[in-house]
């Protein structure tokens, strides 16, 4: 469904991402793990059209979307929940969700709003609250709900558990499970490697901008070398 081939992205002279390839099939939950600075966020940003790609290609459902504008990419059905959530702090919860649904018709938007209110009871309670006043966990749910408003075929999440209390990390992984059971396709970047490998069908390990290992979650969990050398702690 999503094919990334030989992607290289540079910040100035430094390659943040070197020749990275990955694929995500329909209905799969794919994890992307690796230490800080491995290029995980760069990879998602490059796919989503936020960062200029130096070489390589991204294709989505057979269409080349390499270096397309972010608004075009999300309109093709590939949504990103960005790092640090990036919710619109001075807009309320409903407005944040509505803007997430800027790509769909008014009728669909109204239906999706109801759907999100059901899926995220926490948000329903804070419907008219300015998003800047939400707690970290609520804000993360809003960020995910906002991405779902575009009816994405694939949803990419960048560190959804970052900075959350352990109980909220559980909630995020429960949510990923819920979305999987709805048959959604998900690509998740996580620092919490063990949790991610348990939740994912397949995963890629990124280190210093390169994909150094890939396989099913169970396979990678057995690779103690990865944990010691690349991923660090988290076991």
């Amino acid at each position: 469904m999503l094919e990334v081939t030989g992607l290289t992205t540079k910040y100035g002279a430094i390659s943040a991402l070197r020749d990275a390839s990955l694929s995500v099939g329909e209905g799969e939950v794919v994890g992307l793990i690796g230490p800080n600075g491995a290029g995980k966020t760069t990879l998602l940003g490059s796919i989503a059209g936020l960062l200029p790609i130096d070489s390589g290609s991204v294709s989505f459902e057979g269409t080349d979307i390499t270096s397309a504008a972010p608004e075009k990419i999300v309109r093709s059905g590939l949504a990103l929940v960005p790092e640090h959530r990036r919710i619109f702090a001075d807009m309320n919860v409903e407005e944040n969700l509505k803007i997430g649904g800027v790509t769909v018709t008014a009728g669909e938007r109204a239906e999706l709003l109801t759907e999100m209110a059901d899926l995220f009871p926490v948000l329903r309670k804070k419907w008219d609250t300015a998003a800047g006043f939400l707690s970290g966990g609520e804000a993360q749910q809003l960020a995910i709900a906002r991405a779902l408003m575009s009816k994405p075929k694939v949803i990419m999440m960048d560190e959804p558990s970052l900075g959350l209390a352990p109980i909220l990390v559980d909630l995020v992984f429960d949510l990923i499970e819920t979305l999987r059971s709805q048959g959604r396709t998900i690509l998740v970047v996580e620092q919490n490697a063990t949790r991610m490998l348990k939740a994912a069908d397949r995963a890629y390990v990124l280190r210093s901008g390169e994909v150094v290992a890939s396989g099913s979650g169970a396979e990678l969990l057995e690779r103690s070398d990865l944990f010691d050398t690349f991923v660090g702690g988290g076991r």
Binding site: A48, G49, L50, A69, P70, E71, V74, R75, A79, L80, P82, H84, R85, R86, F88, A89, D90, M91, E95, K98, I99, G100, V102, T103, A106, G132, R146, S150, G163
Partner: protein
């Protein structure tokens, strides 16, 4: 008491025009992070069209829509020709670009129209007043205040209740993330310039009526008042821009009436002195927007 009320209404009338100008500057600043020093051209260009129209038998009923429509089109055209090319450039580049647009437009009118003052007939009711008790209120002030109130209410509705308004606010708050949601950058930027032009057009109607003339550099004063009002209100805040405009108008009128006769010519100087004091105590303006890194 009567004099104070009189001054307040006078100041609100003046401030309303500034508020419309400032809001237009603030809308563009929100999206582009550019202080548009060419905002006054959205009054100069319609001003010359007004002069042309009156020489061709038009009247105020037809000139008003001409001013508003030409201000919107000028705003879009300037964006297309100049500002679209410096999107994402440094603040300084955009600032210089907007100065450049101002000088080119001014030079264009100077070279190809005339350096001399072109007069525009004021509407017949311009100097009329209505008496309320002991107050003598200018119909012009009432018209400005009423129209501004309606336009501000409409703009608020647009920003709060329509998808375009939401997209504009989202893009102003975080442009990249708004694009991630599917907000089209071209549309939202053009929309911001159209709205800015519309607001300048409404302000321009009253500005041109009040001045009764147009010159190649007619845009400087409205631009300065708009930018000043934005700074007073707090850069980045739309409400602040409106508040800044009203405060600036009131300050001008009240100072003029309070200052002793001999130094009334220094009103502008005193206004700037007050602005300097404001910035010492509130560097971000009246409704400063805190720049918090959200994690």
């Amino acid at each position: 008491m009567t004099e104070l009320l009189q001054n307040l209404i006078d100041g609100l009338g003046r401030g309303s025009i500034y508020a419309l100008l400032a809001l237009g500057v603030a809308v563009v600043f929100g999206i582009m992070h550019m202080l548009n020093f060419a905002h006054g051209e959205l009054i100069t260009i319609p001003g010359y069209l007004t002069f042309w129209a009156f020489n061709n038998g038009w009247n105020w009923w037809t000139v008003v829509p001409l001013i508003v429509v030409s201000a919107v089109l000028s705003s879009l055209l300037i964006e297309r020709i100049a500002f679209s090319r410096v999107r994402g450039a440094t603040d300084f580049t955009m600032l210089l670009t907007s100065f450049g647009v101002h000088f080119i437009v001014a030079a264009g009118f100077l070279l190809y129209v005339s350096a001399s003052v072109k007069t525009i007939p004021r509407p017949g009711w311009f100097a009329n007043t209505v008496s309320v008790g002991s107050l003598n209120i200018e119909v012009f002030d009432l018209a400005v205040i009423a129209v501004t109130a309606v336009v501000l209410a409409g703009t608020t509705w647009l920003l709060q209740r329509t998808m375009f308004g939401l997209a504009l606010r989202a893009a102003a708050s975080d442009f990249d993330t708004a694009r991630l949601m599917g907000v089209k950058s071209d549309s939202v930027i053009r929309g911001a310039f159209a709205l800015s032009g519309f607001l300048a057009g409404i302000a321009g109607v009253f500005w041109i009526m009040r001045e009764g003339q147009v010159t190649p550099t007619a845009g400087i004063n409205p631009m300065l008042q708009g930018v000043l009002a934005v700074l007073i209100g707090g850069l980045g805040s739309l409400r602040g821009a409106v508040l800044g405009g009203l405060v600036l108008g009131l300050a001008e009128v009240l100072l003029r009436s309070w200052l002793p006769l001999g130094i009334q010519n220094l009103t502008t100087g005193f206004v700037f002195l007050m602005i300097a004091l404001l910035f010492i105590f509130r560097p971000g303006g009246l409704l400063s927007v805190p720049q918090v890194e959200r994690v």
